[in-house]
């Protein structure tokens, strides 16, 4: 007789790791997205080049390769990360590169008209960004950020490859110990979907909050 409740507990423990990875990965990705996204719009060539290199590198190489590098190759250069750190680092940097393009696109999508109104009101570059462009651009970024966060959630499944005991990993353990594929993998499919649902609910609520009174502005 298989102790299913015990094994489900194991999967839930993995789910906790998945949630932890997702949250920390998203936080890092958000920071990187703004740094690199605004960096690409900078007037300074060096900043632009740096941001572009970061974005193209992390979007260009596969997340798998980045994970394996962070976990197996970095230690050879003397940086030893715990699996969790390596996971958060690879996920955050990878998704952050995609987010940077979202930030850039959203900032550019705030039309020239708003920019000109700022000049006519004599706002400085910083004031323009801080008070006019970013508050509007953020609203435009949110839906795509939501997608990015879900992408990140899904990518956490890949960290099972570096023996971080996330949900997918625990499901694999349970599968080996019990011989059942359907139960553990069916369970985590549903759990992943619920987590994705939670993310989109959260972002949508946030969006509604921020968009209050803005009806009709965005099409």
């Amino acid at each position: 007789m298989i102790d299913w409740s015990g094994y489900l507990g194991l999967i839930l423990k993995g789910a906790l790791v998945t949630v932890e990875l997702t949250l920390m990965g998203c936080a890092l990705a958000l920071v990187m997205a703004f740094i690199a996204g605004l960096g690409r719009l900078s007037r300074h060539f060096a900043l632009r080049a740096l941001a572009t290199a970061y974005i193209e590198f992390f979007r260009g190489t596969s997340i798998f390769v980045q994970l394996f590098w962070a976990y197996f190759v970095l230690p050879l250069f003397g940086f030893t990360l715990t699996p969790l750190q390596a996971g958060v680092l690879a996920l955050g940097l990878n998704v952050g590169a995609y987010g940077a393009e979202v930030v850039r696109g959203a900032v550019l999508s705030i039309g020239k008209a708003q920019y000109e109104a700022c000049v006519a009101l004599n706002l400085t570059r910083y004031q323009r960004m801080r008070h006019i462009i970013l508050p509007q651009a953020f609203l435009i970024m949110l839906p795509t950020f939501c997608n990015n966060a879900i992408e990140l959630l899904k990518a956490t499944a890949v960290v099972s490859l570096i023996s971080l005991s996330d949900m997918t990993f625990e499901a694999q353990v349970v599968r080996a110990q019990t011989g059942s594929t359907l139960v553990p993998f069916g369970t985590i499919l549903i759990l992943y979907f619920l987590m994705a649902l939670a993310i989109s609910r959260f972002v949508r609520t946030l969006e509604k909050r921020l968009a209050r009174g803005l009806d009709g502005v965005r099409v």
Binding site: T61, W69, V73, S160, F185, Y192, A196
Partner: protein, 219 residues
């Protein structure tokens, strides 16, 4: 651990075998996701809720759960229900379905971006529904989508390493196999990374070109 060029030359033929499979899987997956995406996009617009609702839910579910887990399902669980697919076929179906839910969004956006006036003009010209789609809406909707579609094909390309869990010997799997037999991770993983990066950088130029060629339609 230092870099060993002899080793690189030795493993190159094996890795190239993997590259072939990777490319085949990506191409077939792209074709399938293009078709699946269009089907999803059209079915979701169906006025019959009995069609649009389940399709929407299924698409959301597939989009919210990791491809890795879906591949396990397709390959290891479906046979219990009498569906036995060869590894590459299972992989292509997994990629096609998963990315089909993304391309469906691209189609939706492309179709929504055709101004309402075009639908109305088509009606005022007394075109039938089918004529409106083929002569007015799709010719305007599809060219601007091409860059976004291509973007997903590139993303799919970078996710092919997941196929290793269902025994497809693509590039990443070959590299791991090589690494396992010689206990050297640095060269194979770096080569895989370099390969992905090269293709991605090339595709950046390709995308730019596509965007210029198809990106906007003058109104």
């Amino acid at each position: 651990m230092e870099w060993d060029w002899d080793f690189v030359w030795k493993i190159m033929p094996t890795l190239i075998e993997g590259v072939k499979i990777t490319i085949i899987a990506t191409l077939l997956g792209s074709v399938l996701s293009t078709v699946v995406g269009l089907a999803i996009a059209l079915l979701r617009r169906s006025p019959t809720r009995l069609i649009s609702m389940p399709v929407s839910f299924a698409a959301e579910f597939i989009r919210g759960t990791p491809l890795l887990v879906q591949l396990y399902f397709i390959f290891y669980v479906l046979p219990d229900f009498g569906i036995l697919l060869p590894p590459l076929v299972a992989g292509v179906i997994g990629l096609g379905l998963h990315y089909g839910t993304y391309t469906a969004e691209v189609y939706r956006a492309g179709i929504d971006n055709v101004p309402r006036g075009q639908w109305e003009a088509a009606k005022a010209c007394n075109l039938t529904g089918g004529q409106t789609w083929t002569h007015v809406i799709l010719p305007q909707a599809i060219p601007p989508m091409i860059p976004a579609l291509a973007n997903y094909f590139i993303a799919m390309f970078k996710e092919t390493p997941l196929l290793s869990v269902i025994t497809v010997l693509e590039l990443m799997n070959q590299a791991k196999s090589v690494a396992n037999s010689y206990y050297r991770y640095v060269e194979p993983m770096t080569l895989v990374g370099a390969f992905f990066l090269t293709i991605s950088l090339l595709s950046v130029f390709g995308l730019r070109w596509l965007e210029k060629r198809y990106g906007r339609i003058e109104r």
